[in-house]
């Protein structure tokens, strides 16, 4: 019996059991009067989850064991489960029999149920409500905001443009500082270069470090740096630099991993030293993709710098959050317009340049 299949099915069954437990208690609250139910302490909801977390973890463990039993049982019954579809056992079942209409099959109905139940749960958790969406007071508030945004106050235009330029320069500086560092690090992040026994552990370590610093959103870096160097463009720039170094090093190293060995052998065989090999055999192969990637990064950085501005990283984002805080919607409208135009222009320009470099 295939281990992959049992693991996969048991996880699906576990989720099914959890949904059933959650759903039944939710239905009980909705339809049974609470006093009559009397066990409100055991109702499974978000609060219960937080309050009784250790018990919940144990419970899930027990349920998983149960689910694994169910999965094994389904296997005995020769049920066509999702696991069986994904990891078929060709010896047991002829391929033809594996394809009934999905609404007639166990796996089809099972997945359909899971989808609908998850949909219901997410609607409930998000507190989606047509009542609030069409509430009169709420609507009129949104209408005022909309009026403000569509009638931008252009007296703020000059200020907005100056701040936008600051944002672009923050992004530019962050990119420029990141380029040489990433260029250097990329060689140590490329598997085909770090393939000897001494270098490999170093490669793994650097990769892990890069992935971690890349998965920390620039927004979080910005929060760290606003505390460190104070609110302002400098903090935003530092945050973007860190993130850009990690992303560029990753992109660069992927390009490096695609470099052909032939030209490297060719240049090495002329008696060139290591630096010359990099410059004459590797750089010509990577230069255009590098430029394309870097321009894309600058473009992304402009967008990110705007968002970072919202948490105090300077530039047009900071301006936006100031006026938004005072509910000055016509001014906010003007700022948003400037942001939209700049992001659109940068995007367009970088797309054209990258296309031309191909």
């Amino acid at each position: 019996m295939s281990a992959k299949r049992i693991i996969f099915d048991s996880v699906l069954f576990l989720y099914t059991l959890v949904l059933l437990a959650y759903g039944s208690t939710q239905l009980a609250i909705a339809f049974a009067p609470a006093p009559a139910f009397g066990l409100s302490d055991l109702v499974i909801d978000q609060e219960f989850f937080v309050r009784r977390f250790p018990e919940v973890v144990t419970g899930v463990g027990v349920l998983w064991a149960l689910a694994a039993l169910l999965a094994a049982f389904a296997y005995k019954l020769n049920l066509l489960t999702t696991g069986e579809i994904l990891f078929p056992n060709r010896q047991r079942r002829p391929p033809a029999e594996a394809n009934p209409h999905f609404l007639r099959s166990f796996w089809g109905l099972h997945l359909l149920f899971l989808f609908l139940a998850t949909l219901a749960m997410s609607l409930q958790v998000t507190e989606a409500s047509f009542y609030e969406l069409f509430d009169r007071e709420g609507l009129s508030g949104a209408w005022r905001l909309w009026l403000g945004l569509t009638h931008p106050n252009f007296s703020l235009l000059a200020k907005a443009i100056t701040e936008a330029i600051e944002t672009i320069l923050i992004a530019f500086l962050a990119t420029v500082i990141a380029i040489p560092v990433a260029f250097f690090l990329a060689f140590f992040c490329a598997k085909n270069i770090m393939n000897n026994r001494v270098a490999f552990p170093f490669y793994v370590l650097l990769r892990v470090f890069m992935n971690v610093s890349r998965s920390v959103e620039p927004l979080i870096w910005a929060l760290i740096f606003t505390v460190w160097v104070g609110v302002g463009p400098f903090a935003g720039m530092l945050a973007l630099t860190i993130h850009s170094i990690a992303s560029l090093a990753k992109y660069y190293s992927e390009i490096l991993e695609g470099v052909a060995d032939g030209p490297i052998d060719g240049i090495r065989s002329t008696g060139a030293n290591a630096v010359q090999v990099v410059w004459f055999a590797i750089v010509p192969q990577i230069i255009l993709p590098y430029i394309g990637m870097t321009i894309y990064r600058w473009d992304t950085n402009v967008r990110m710098a705007t968002v970072i501005g919202l948490v105090g990283g300077g530039g047009i984002g900071t301006l936006l959050i100031q006026y938004q805080g005072q509910a000055m919607w016509p001014e906010v409208g003007c700022i948003i317009l400037v942001i939209a135009v700049i992001v659109w222009l940068m995007d367009l320009a970088s797309a054209y340049v990258r296309e031309a470099l191909k």
Binding site: G271, Q276, P284, Q285
Partner: protein, 255 residues
């Protein structure tokens, strides 16, 4: 006179455990056009790459031009590679760069590193590159992009790059294996020209015996990493052929 190249008990075992060369001993005299033959996997490429140390041999000794070559590192190794040029089955030119830039790369071992990085090649070097490009008959392609030439033209650029090193020994690893028969002869003719007119010793891996008979002054046959035949090409008769390539093999002719 001392041999230009002397190989003593050379062995190579790859990390995968494959014994690609086993106790190979061989002398190569000045001015020879030595051809190495053998089945695919018999170790021909490995032998050539050990000679300019693109691959490190596992055991044995290599003497080149009177000095030990198998232990060299750093600048001394680069200097060895400068004197032992190589051309490859896949040409191995640098794509996206011009033909003349590729040929100039043959001077990298001669010029100072920082000058080469700044592209400051001397007029003499540039003239030399153009000269060798014309020697292989494609002087007019100097400013084309290397990857936009035909296979035969690319291999001629590779020969020009190798000649630009002004080497004593030229290693050629199946230089015509990816070319059509007519182009193969053109390329082989330029190798012979380098051998006869410039006095460069050539060691060349080949697959087709008809080419071997036409160009080789001496033949060495490898089988499973060991030398099984050494001699003049005319000595390869039916019996030797079966010894080298196995009982079931039949000869293919290339005109």
């Amino acid at each position: 006179m001392n041999p230009l190249l002397s190989i003593k008990n050379l062995s190579k075992v790859y990390p995968s455990g494959v014994r690609a060369l086993n106790n190979v001993s061989l002398d190569v005299a000045h001015g020879e056009f030595l051809v190495i033959i053998g089945l695919s996997g018999s170790g021909k490429t490995t032998l050539l790459r050990c000679l300019n140390r693109l691959t490190d041999p596992g055991g044995g000794e290599i003497y080149f031009d009177g000095a030990r070559a198998d232990q060299l590192t750093g600048p001394a190794l680069n200097d060895l590679r400068r004197r032992v040029a190589m051309i490859f089955q896949t040409f191995n030119l640098v794509p996206r760069r011009s033909v003349i830039a590729n040929v100039l790369a043959g001077r990298l071992g001669h010029v100072s590193v920082w000058k080469s990085l700044l592209g400051l090649f001397s007029e003499t070097d540039r003239a030399l590159a153009q000269h060798y490009l014309e020697l292989v008959g494609i002087g007019e392609k100097a400013n084309s992009r290397a990857d936009q030439l035909s296979g035969g033209q690319q291999q001629r650029v590779a020969i020009a790059r190798a000649l630009c090193q002004q080497p004593k020994l030229l290693l050629a690893d199946e230089p015509v294996a990816s070319l059509d028969p007519a182009t193969a002869h053109v390329v082989m003719d330029y190798l012979r020209k380098a051998n006869r007119e410039l006095g460069i010793t050539v060691i060349c891996n080949l697959h087709f015996l008809s080419l071997v008979r036409e160009y080789a002054t001496r033949v060495v046959a490898l089988r499973a990493g060991e030398i099984v035949f050494q001699g003049h090409p005319s000595e390869i008769n039916e019996d030797w052929f079966k010894q080298i390539y196995g009982e079931a093999a039949r000869e293919v002719h290339v005109r």
